[in-house]
Amino acid sequence: MATTAVVGHGHPPTTTGLDHRKIAIWAFIGSECMLFTSLISTYLIYKGRSVNGPFPHEVCNPPQCPTVMQPILNIPVTSVSTFVLLMSSLAMVLALAAVENKDKPGWAGTGWWGRTLASSRVWLMATAILGATFLGFQAYEFTSFVHEGLTIRKNLFGSSFFTLTGFHGAHVTVGVLWLLTLFAIDVRRGLGPKDALLVDISALYWHFVDVVWIAIFTLVYLIR
């Protein structure tokens, strides 16, 4: 989006005309690809190798389980949380657009929807709330799994599943805190086009976290 070179202010312009932080966040995202690849690969490697249950997609029978246990992954609920996270990316993109166009009142139209679209505060908070909702779903899922007998140490599935989704959830948490910080700054002094880069970077992080979940949802939940 709006990328301004760091010109003037006694500093030489950047070689590419791009801001340092934007380059750094993409390098960081590249690095995170390897982090999540290691986690996902381990999950896939250990798929089907748990010695005892509960299992993700299959029924668990004695003696691997004390009693017959149903497959533990809840696809309908997780589909909803996946949708929530996807919508949060939409909210994020709208937040960025609102910040970039702050200096053009009426850019999105003059009705109530146009005014809503133009409010960065609305969309920053919406993203944070949707992200927090996703985390709520995760918390629900984790506690219900534990209740059904799947802990992180129960078997390979538990270990690899909780570690993978836990790391992802931790990343979402950091993102939510980041968004709330931006919201607070917006409330205090307002965010305008000159802050577009800051919001852009947080957006890139947020979308990446969403994209990782797209991979996890398919590879962990849907593929049996």
Binding site: A5, H9, G10, H11, P12, P13, T14, T15, T16, G17, L18, H20, I23, A24, A27, F28, G30, S31, E32, M34, L35, T37, S38, L39, T42, I45, Y46, R49, S50, V51, I152, R153, N155, L156, G158, S159, S160, T163, T181
Partner: protein, 655 residues
């Protein structure tokens, strides 16, 4: 360049450089951070060397009883871990810090505070890991920490906890630095400094940063799995639960192989700076040197299982990895030839730096040859876990990395400190190191092939191993003497070394156009670059006639940003074109109107809280879970708050 009896003083800066410990604790200046990395890593070099000397003393004769088996395990584990993570990597980082901004014509790195943070994390992480010696529970599972040995059932004490937490902490340092330097090199090059005009050191450093940010996440996860197994009872590496200890090996070596290229490429870069200068010739085959570096890095991600030929992966996997491993020898070998052709027909000056650089070329070749021998799985089945492998990696890491890094030390010490290291003492250092190194590691090829296994604290007599081990041990003692001589050289030259001036060597690259030591802003005027050898263009144009240039006679250089022409600058390089010693007063940043970042203690504290946060986990194994949790939460909170304060504070004053 001879040392004067009455020590001449350095040209005075117009201001006094801040002194005192607080200025060092709060520095965000890449040159000072580089100096911190340099002295810290050289100190750990002595510690790792001491561990090596003790190993060699134990193995000097058969059935040695200098140390116990357990202590021996700790010694070789810490020797390896120290040399890899606390010496070679940070020594390379010292050069990244010192050189990258200077070589590309920048005033600092992209994120100066993050840069300081990387150093403090390294320092605290290294202290944490070595604190284990105080309770005699230093890591003892090898530098590679194979499971299941390092899992809780087989390692109940704190040794492995120190190791895995220490490495986790150190990883953060490298990752942060990686993002910093990637951004710096992409985004802070001076006008005219196209990618294919960058010094080879900066190129190799650039490639290494990508290796770092892509490889370290993998070992991070491998360590997380081990930590979760040991602290929280997960089953990642537990066979009874269906876990596979080989998972550790794969994840470790997916990191570990790029890691060895991380260890060697900076040294290759330094050699590529030193050889042209002391051959008075441009580097032979510059583009090939760049592309081969890229190819090594890329292929380096596809060879990892050659460390695992003996685990039974099957013929297809073995063959594939053998092929990729042999392939990677090609770009590496090409570099050797390019260095030789650089020297061929050149006007050679055998300074100490040059000697170390040439030593790398020869000794790394030897190490590379034994490496290619390991690439064949059937051959490797005989060689693996013997001293033949020990010989290989010491030739490439000592004969390669350390020799290259020492070349860099002798070459760049004048730029950092303003004084030259003594050539006379340096020669003693070099020859003793060279002889000692070969005496230590050449015999290991034989003892390895005769069957002496690695990591064993004693060997029995009558197996034909005594002569080799005796030679190795004597070689180690000679090396120790060489290090003492080097330390003496540093000590003496700091005070009484010859004054270096801007460019004591007649070198071609930008860092030699500014005073030694450089002022905090590096370049008074951002230089405009006309070719790969900007200083030779100016001072010795006959040397660079064959090198691509900005058009002959062109005075103005276009400045393009993102493809759009925004202006042009006149042909000028940097600063007061001083002679050997500039009599001009070096002006302050303020006088020149250059905004400088403010020093700050926050990076140090974020590093400290982070280290303590990880360290708290150790309490779990002391039976103090509540305290561990309290520690983690407290330090995580402290870290977050300090980090917020850091991020919300602007880097510089408003201007």
């Amino acid at each position: 360049m001879a040392t004067a009896a009455a020590a001449p003083s350095l040209p005075h800066a117009g201001y006094t450089e801040p002194t005192g410990i607080w200025s060092w604790l709060t520095t965000v200046d890449h040159k000072r951070i580089g100096a911190l990395y340099l002295w810290t890593s050289l100190t750990w070099f002595c510690v790792g060397g001491l561990e090596a000397v003790m190993i060699r003393a134990q193995l000097q004769g058969p059935n040695g009883r200098l140390v116990s088996a357990e202590t021996y395990n700790q010694l070789f584990t810490m020797h390896g871990t120290t040399m890899v993570f606390l010496v070679i990597m940070p020594l390379s980082a010292a050069f990244f810090n010192l050189l990258i901004p200077l070589q590309i014509g920048a005033r600092d790195v992209a994120f100066p505070r993050l840069n300081a943070f990387s150093y403090w994390v390294y320092l605290f992480g290294s202290l944490f890991m070595n604190a284990s010696w105080l309770i005699r529970q230093a890591p003892d599972g090898g530098w590679f920490g194979y499971t299941p040995l390092t899992t809780l059932p087989f390692s109940q004490n704190l040794n492995i906890d120190f190791w895995m937490l220490g490495l986790q902490i150190l990883g953060v340092s490298s990752l942060a630095a990686g993002f910093n330097f990637i951004t710096t090199i992409i985004n802070m090059r001076a006008p005219g400094m196209h990618f294919m005009r960058m010094p080879i050191f900066t190129w190799m450093a650039f490639i290494v940063q990508f290796l770092l940010v892509l490889a370290f996440p993998v070992i991070t996860i491998a360590l997380v799995f081990l930590q979760f197994d040991r602290f929280f009872g997960t089953t990642f590496y537990l066979t009874t639960a269906g876990g596979d200890p080989l998972l550790w090996q794969h994840l470790f070596w997916i990191f570990g192989h790029p890691e060895v290229y991380i260890l060697i490429l900076p040294a290759f870069g330094l050699v590529s700076e030193v050889l042209p200068t002391f051959s008075r010739k441009p580097l032979f085959g510059y583009p090939v040197m760049v592309y081969s570096g890229m190819l090594i890095a890329f292929l380096g991600f596809g060879v990892w299982a050659h460390h695992m030929f003996a685990v039974g992966m099957g013929p297809i996997a073995d063959t594939l990895f053998a092929v990729t491993t042999m392939l990677i020898g090609i770009p590496t070998g090409v570099k050797i030839f390019n260095w030789i052709f650089t020297m061929w027909g050149g006007d050679l000056r055998f300074t100490v730096a040059m000697k170390f650089a040439i030593a790398l070329v020869g000794l790394f070749t030897i190490g590379g040859i034994s490496g290619v021998m390991h690439a064949s799985p059937p051959a490797d089945l005989q060689q693996t876990d013997t001293y033949f492998i020990v010989a290989h990696f010491h030739y490439v890491l000592f004969g390669g990395s350390m020799m290259g890094l020492f070349a860099g030390v002798y070459y760049y010490f004048p730029k950092l400190t303003g004084r030259l290291l003594s050539e006379k003492i340096g020669n003693w250092h070099f020859w003793l190191a060279f002889v000692g190194m070969n005496l230590t590691f050449m015999p290991m090829h034989w003892s390895g092939l005769v069957g002496m296994p690695r990591r064993t604290w004693v060997y029995d007599s009558g197996q034909g191993l005594e002569p080799f081990n005796l030679m190795s041990s004597i070689g180690a003692y000679i090396q120790a003497v060489s290090v003492i001589i080097f330390a003496y050289n540093v000590w003496v030259s700091r005070r009484r070394g010859g004054i270096a001036g801007n460019d004591p060597w007649g070198a071609p690259t930008l860092e030699w156009s500014i005073p030694s030591p450089p002022p905090d802003y590096n370049f008074a005027v951002v230089p405009t670059v006309t070719s790969r050898y900007p200083l030779w263009d100016r001072k010795s144009p006959e040397l660079t006639r064959e090198v691509p240039h900005t058009r002959e006679g062109e005075r103005a250089i276009n400045v393009d940003i993102a493809g759009k022409h925004v202006g042009h600058v006149d042909h000028a390089i940097g600063n007061p074109p001083g002679g050997a010693v500039s009599s001009e007063r070096i002006r302050t940043a303020k006088e020149l109107g250059i905004p400088m970042p403010n020093p700050t203690i926050k990076p140090l504290f974020v590093a400290l809280w982070m280290t303590l946060m990880f360290a708290s986990l150790i309490l779990i194994h002391k039976g103090k879970q509540p305290m561990a949790i309290a520690g983690i939460i407290t330090f995580a909170l402290a870290m977050t708050l300090t980090l917020y304060s850091w991020l919300l504070t602007p880097l510089e004053d408003e201007h």
